[in-house]
Symmetry: C2
Subunit: 389 residues, 2 copies
């Protein structure tokens, strides 16, 4: 029994931002149709749909959301399945779609991710997002997500001497990359002074250390590798998919300065792909807060523990440097419509491996990676992609 | 590439009912530990967890719920994935678990389903459940689920002459079966007069035509068939898994008297299993309302369209008759903790095929089936199981 090879044969996304003129359905339809068009799927039977969204129940009063999308896109009666893993919902949906194709159960699978967050006040969105942490032990006690990540940042600073300027540099880099991405929520570069001078949200995290509230959707079309060239001249193969879990509450963890789920999932993914971190050319990591990017690049293995801040400050994660991190602008600069993020990461890596990333293209990118985290690290899902020549 | 055969090697559930003394975590842990104990899994590595729950975000303020369960049950760092398809969340979770084992990606997979519905007022639960329908076109207009199914009942009565007494007989039968099930929410038989005389909820549906608001959880342990006898002497093989979708809004459908998703999923499942409806000995169908059972036994193919009511009245769906339907008591008598229902159906069928169903045992049951519906039919997922000799 050998699983089939799986390729991404089409991608699409909406602009991320505050789409007050569009509802959830319109966002998903726009991203989905762009992916279907990109894969030249006209007239081809789509076999199944997977959707990642975190909190449509609380944000727009709608559960059963992937069935709704199948309905709205005219895809009935295909199987339509929603998966949810907080901010990792998109990445976990991609993994389910990958499994469906790899297993032979389905051939052509569309995976979408979306969130419509601006239909409610920001305070309501913050409470809904709090549902990604441990409701009884964190949210109920008043901890919001900036507060939880601030605890991690403070401890990282204490243990490794990480500086607030190094956190700020993550934002500077990612906003710069976002300025070259027409789909990004924020299109202007920001200076280190701007980040450092921004309002404190949860000390040491300032406004520009935090990803925004966003609307948006993204979609990819998957096919078995042996069928991929029917749809595209530039298939991108998914060579590894790995997922891991950790405690929801920070208080139950042995360390505040690493995400164990990232370490477990990344290690497994490298084993499956038969590569090492040094082989990766471009990686989208989950930078919901600047400290999250620093922990991610350490936990994945791009840099030793405690050296992520310095590496960032030294420019080693900038576009076309040692390892190009978050070329899309990341959650920080491109925006973070929660359920969409994990799928958008795959869209960006696909563009990079096809050589279609324009002004933010990583030269000769052959191997890319996505790293999507749920909550404060209770879920992590990692995918590794390779340009299929 | 051939998918692996998959068996259910352990099952467990909580009593369904109003568990004011237990939270979501305790319910899931109780069901999960019973399933793990049933499979004699002590010391065996569990590879992945799938969880089905509909509305934990709105009912208990907690998303990311399957990661929470992995945490609470000490299963970290295994992949833990929540799927949601309204009232079909449990069945769709079972399908994802099945796929994970069949594909070879994982060996030992635990699938759980749960809902904790009594922590909020019934009116809030009703609104949360409304999120299973089309929020913009149904719930916003004031339609609750009893109202939507009442429309289907009224039309079924108009087209096929189905009688209110026939609807009521579904409740009488299912409460009778429930009276023989120690896990059931309602343990007393009811008379036709009681059902017919109960308060009208949404004409023609009365109180006893409606399934209740419930707390509860259920779990099954899956393994590849070739490993199954390490864990049990009585493995139950899943010989078909099929899922289909339909429009969320009733107003978009061609017919109000059938669920297209049921027809598509059941047809596909019978093809995969190489059997016909007449081969099924025992079936758990999704009787969220009495009319839903009548439509289900017609749409699956046990009875011709329009004859489900008469067949029920004639006793053809009673225990050890033509086809034993809802031996557990169904959603109607056993209770309907939304996300748990689809998994509970698999638990009941497993007990039946093992010959462990006590006073409600179907004689010589060899082939069983589960039919789980999301919302008013926008999702349907069907599984067929066979006793492995």
């Amino acid at each position: 029994m050998v699983m089939r090879r799986v390729a991404i044969v089409g991608v699409g996304m909406t602009e991320f931002g505050e789409h007050w003129e569009m509802g959830f359905r319109e966002l998903v339809a726009q991203a989905g149709l762009r992916a279907i068009e990109d894969a030249k799927l006209a007239g081809v039977k789509i076999d199944a749909l997977y959707g990642g969204t975190m909190a449509a129940g609380r944000l727009i009063g709608q559960e059963h959301i992937t069935a709704l999308i199948a309905d709205y896109m005219g895809l009935n009666p295909i199987p339509a399945t929603r998966v949810e893993a907080a901010c990792a919902s998109g990445g976990v949906a991609l993994r389910q779609g990958y499994m469906a194709v790899a297993s032979g159960m389905h051939d052509i699978v569309v995976v979408g991710g979306a969130e419509k967050m601006t239909d409610v006040p920001v305070s309501d969105a913050a409470v809904a997002l709090g549902g990604a942490g441990d409701q009884e032990w964190e949210l109920f006690m008043g901890a919001t997500f900036p507060a939880l990540y601030a605890l991690m940042a403070r401890r990282h600073m204490y243990e490794y001497g990480t500086k607030e300027e190094e956190l700020a540099q993550v934002a500077v880099k990612n906003h710069y990359n976002a300025s070259k991405n027409k789909y990004a929520q924020f299109k202007s570069p920001v200076s280190l002074e701007t980040v450092m001078g921004s309002k404190v949200i949860a000390d040491p995290l300032k406004l520009f250390d935090c990803s925004p509230i966003s609307d948006g959707a993204a979609a990819v079309v998957l096919a078995p590798m042996e069928m991929a060239r029917q749809f595209t001249d530039t298939p991108v193969e998914i060579i590894a998919s790995a997922q891991a879990s950790d405690t929801l509450a920070l208080s139950s963890r042995k360390s505040l300065t690493e995400l164990r789920a990232t370490k477990v999932a990344a290690k497994k993914a490298f084993e499956l792909a038969h590569i090492t971190p040094g082989d990766v050319d471009v990686c989208e990591v989950h930078d919901c807060f600047t400290i999250a990017e620093i922990m991610a690049i350490e936990d994945i293995g791009f840099f030793p523990k405690g050296k992520g801040g310095k590496a960032t400050m030294d420019g080693e994660t900038a576009l076309n440097s040692t390892i190009s991190i978050n070329t899309s602008g990341g959650l920080k600069g491109c925006g973070h419509p929660v359920g969409a993020t994990g799928v958008k990461q795959a869209v960006e890596i696909t563009w990079q491996l096809r050589g279609e990333a324009g002004d933010r293209q990583v030269k000769n990118a052959e191997i890319g990676m996505t790293h999507n985290v749920g909550g404060s690290g209770a879920t992590c899902v990692v995918h590794i992609m390779r340009r299929a020549d």
